[in-house]
């Protein structure tokens, strides 16, 4: 007991293990209160997971209590039975701050300060049963969830392998119910019958939830067993082939999904595709050449405006080219602008480059918006009446058709990026990234290489911009905000700097998912921020790191080991 600090207010010293459980519970409880006060919980409460039984808000609070229970159980060094009781305690404690909040709302109205602390929230927390009963139930619910969390934490792997995927699947099926239902509704017959069985109008029905849980749990179990059954001494599968397989499957899903999923998914995927294109371009600049460019959106704008001016049917038209002629021109012009853009920042390095390019990017947007350029570029009113591309008599009007255009463009771009990476130029970029002076002293032409990085990076963004213009059939200066550059940068980092598959994963995670969560309004950026923070903590090398990056992070561990070990003394005799 000595060494553990006990607050002076507590008369009897609490056993340290209990203390730990209580503190864990309080920490999770504080998190729950925070989410509640800022309004997330009530917002999530609007959404059923299981109709009439469990809302997403309730599920969130229960998950928090379960998390407290699991953590309390994991950290304790006592017998299994005792650990589960600790989980129960931590869960109850986690619910206590919420109970206090409920009492507070009941007594005084705090809505002037915290708009979310409404009677609706009180009703949710107390299940509409009035303060006394409701609060008792709230704490009991927390205790129950904590107990379950602790029990799950203590269970054998086989159970965890079944329960976690099952629960996740139910939540996903519930959250994306509208999308899934719309998708399934397109088809008559069995598919629609399955939909009707699983879903009531606004969410899963209890039978559906149980079915989904059971099926996924069984699947999780089956996959786990198959993994285990592979003999230990069997040669490990070639990681390279496994990767190619995964990439192939992902590509196939991307290619086939929109055709079946309908136009909303098509639209989301199309946006993801545009960001993949831009990601691959910026990846050349940052991932390979180490040029931290925050003005990237400028190239996207050039591609879009060039396409607009060359194809529009409005008065702004310079020419009336077909889309397929305008697109290459847009790409070429983007390259030109990329090179011009690179010139003034040739001698600028590192952090300063980020600031300088940020300025350049803004300049492009301001010019486009200006009255001075308005006769040509349309000013804030933008350029309208951009036609959709056509192949012969067939107009590529639907999001799904345009998605395939994007997919094809991304495929070509990926091939180019991949070839570049392994070329002399790619090697030169990497050398410049590591040490500019030495690279030059070995014969690498700094000016040429840097300008090529900007130009080729810009080509990808210009291509994306070109498709973007025809997708929206209009362009406005307000579409080309700094936020786009930042999004592209973030997706590269999350995916894995310098890695092509990483770009795809990053775009899906940071662009696709928030887009699907659009109905949660501004709160989806909360998700975005959380993903960024968690990623940087847990997987700084990204979702799918490049070999080089992986080597680096691995290398850092090795260096540490060396420092501690046998390195010959690097001492200068003076």
């Amino acid at each position: 007991m000595s060494g553990v600090h006990t607050p002076p207010g507590l008369a009897a010293p609490i056993h340290p293990i209990l203390r730990r459980a209580v503190l864990t519970g309080l920490a999770f409880g504080a998190g729950a209160v925070h989410l509640t006060v800022v309004g997330v919980v009530l917002m999530l409460h609007q959404r059923w997971i299981v109709v009439g039984t469990l809302s997403l808000g309730e599920a969130t609070l229960l998950a928090i209590a379960a998390g407290a229970g699991a953590m309390a159980a994991a950290n304790a060094g006592t017998a299994a039975g005792a650990r589960i009781m600790l989980g129960l305690l931590a869960g109850a404690v986690a619910a206590a701050p919420l109970a206090a909040l409920a009492v507070l709302i009941d007594l005084v109205s705090l809505r002037a300060i915290f708009i979310a602390l409404s009677p609706d929230l009180l009703a949710m927390l107390t299940l509409g049963l009035g303060p006394a009963t409701g609060i008792a139930l709230l704490i009991a619910g927390g205790a129950g969830a904590g107990l379950l969390g602790a029990a799950l934490q203590q269970s054998p792997r086989a159970v965890i392998r079944a329960v976690l995927p099952g629960a996740t699947a139910v939540v996903v099926a519930g959250v994306f119910q509208e999308l899934i239902q719309l998708m399934l509704q397109q088809y008559e017959g069995v598919v629609n019958d399955v939909r009707a069985f699983l879903y009531s109008w606004e969410g899963l029905n209890p039978a559906g939830a149980i079915t989904i849980f059971a099926v996924t749990a069984l699947l999780g179990e089956a996959v786990g067993l198959r993994r285990r059954r592979r003999p230990a001494h069997a040669p490990p599968r070639d990681p390279r082939r496994a990767r190619m397989m995964r990439a192939g499957i992902a590509l196939l899903v991307l290619a086939v999904l929109p055709a079946f999923a309908g136009s909303y998914i098509g639209q989301v995927l199309m946006l993801v595709g545009l960001y993949i294109l831009m990601g691959m371009g910026l990846n050349l600049e940052i991932g390979l050449a180490g040029l931290l460019d925050l003005g990237f959106v400028a190239f996207f704008a050039v591609g879009a405006y060039t396409t607009a001016l060359l194809t529009t049917e409005s008065a702004h038209a310079l020419l009336h080219l077909s889309y397929w002629l305008a697109m290459p021109v847009a790409v070429l012009l983007s390259i030109l602008v990329g090179v011009l853009f690179g010139l003034p920042v040739l001698g600028v390095r590192g952090d300063y480059l980020a600031v300088a390019t940020l300025g350049l990017g803004e300049i492009v947007r301001v010019i486009v918006q200006s009255d001075f350029a308005a006769p040509l570029l349309g000013g804030a009113q933008g350029i309208l009446e951009i036609p959709k591309p056509r192949i012969g008599p067939y107009v590529l009007g639907s999001p799904v058709a345009l998605f395939y255009v994007t997919l094809a463009a991304a495929g070509v771009a990926a091939f180019v990026a991949w070839r570049l990476e392994n070329s002399r130029l790619g090697r030169a970029w990497m050398a410049l990234r590591d040490d500019e002076d030495v690279a030059q002293a070995l014969g690498i032409n700094l000016i040429q290489c840097k300008l090529l990085a900007y130009g080729l990076g810009a080509a990808f963004a210009g291509l994306a911009g070109s498709i973007f213009a025809t997708m929206l059939t209009s362009v406005y200066p307000s579409s080309f905000q700094l936020l786009i550059s930042i999004n592209v940068l973030a997706l590269i980092i999350v995916g894995g700097m310098g890695s092509l598959p990483g770009v795809v994963l990053g775009a899906v995670a940071l662009i696709g998912l928030p887009e699907l969560l659009r109905e949660f309004g501004e709160y989806r950026y909360l998700f975005y921020g959380a993903v960024l923070i968690v990623m940087m903590r847990l997987r700084p090398e990204g979702l799918w790191p490049s070999d080089v990056r992986q080597r680096e992070l691995h290398a850092r561990d090795e260096t540490l080991a060396l420092d501690a070990g046998s390195d010959p003394l690097p001492v200068q005799p003076r």
């Binding site: 090697r427 590591d434 030495v438 002293a441 690498i444």
Partner: protein, 235 residues
């Protein structure tokens, strides 16, 4: 005619005059050393020769050709190659990739492969580490790699900036031994060092640099015996 002729160059960092009119010459097949204390201007001299800095006055001729107006990469292509101070290898690339970068300006794939084998014989330790990330090499190995990388360019003149800096005494000896070997194989070397005794010991000719001026010059052995050098560097 000397291979490298530096004639009264003045080099500035903005307003600071780091080199105040120095001249020196390196003959074919020689080892020439430029010794001097910290901040004397040794690295600045090499940077000026390799085109990373441009003298405000004076000329640098390599093989009779004035280097004024050439970019660093052009100069590298003429056969002037530097082993930079502090072993600046490409830490995130592998040993093999570092060597490949050394041969960046060369197109003769076959000869490059031969040279790589030669480097493996010269530095057997690198052979075992070809796939390793260069940043994880020990100090001595990094120096070997930096030297090997420069040699991969088939330099006509090798510029070495304090190759013994930061190495344990045993490794220092090895470094100077290697420099001799390389020179014996026909490579001309301009060696910059703070370790005056060791550098002068292997040099055909030496220059002593102080505060951006050359204060003494002569045959390596001669300078080693010179009273003023002994007082300043040999204690």
């Amino acid at each position: 005619m000397a291979l490298l002729e530096i004639d009264a160059i003045h080099v500035f960092y903005d307003k600071i005059e780091a080199l105040k009119g120095i001249s020196l010459a390196v003959e074919q097949r020689q080892i020439v050393t430029l010794v001097g204390g910290n901040g004397a201007g040794k690295s600045t001299t090499l940077r000026a020769v390799s085109g990373l800095l441009h003298p405000r006055q004076g000329t640098i001729r390599f093989d009779g050709r004035d280097l004024a107006g050439l970019g660093a990469h052009d100069i590298a292509a003429t056969g002037l190659v530097q082993v930079p101070e502090g072993r600046r290898i490409f830490g995130r690339l592998t040993v093999a990739e570092n060597l490949e970068m050394g041969a960046f300006t060369r197109r003769d794939r076959h000869a490059v492969a031969e040279d790589r084998d030669r480097m493996m014989r010269l530095f057997p330790r690198l052979r075992e580490r070809l796939k390793q990330v260069a940043g994880t090499l020990s100090g001595g190995e990094q120096q070997m790699l930096a030297t090997a990388r420069a040699l991969m360019a088939r330099p006509r003149l090798l510029l070495m900036d304090e190759p013994s800096m930061g190495l344990a005494p045993m490794l220092v000896e090895q470094v100077f031994e290697t420099i001799r070997t390389i020179n014996a194989q026909g490579v001309t070397i301009l060696l910059v060092e703070q370790n005056a005794p060791a550098a002068l010991g292997i040099a055909d000719h030496g220059y002593v640099l102080e505060s951006g001026r050359i204060v003494l010059s002569g045959a390596g052995r001669e300078l080693l015996d010179d009273e003023r050098v002994r007082r300043a560097y040999l204690g």
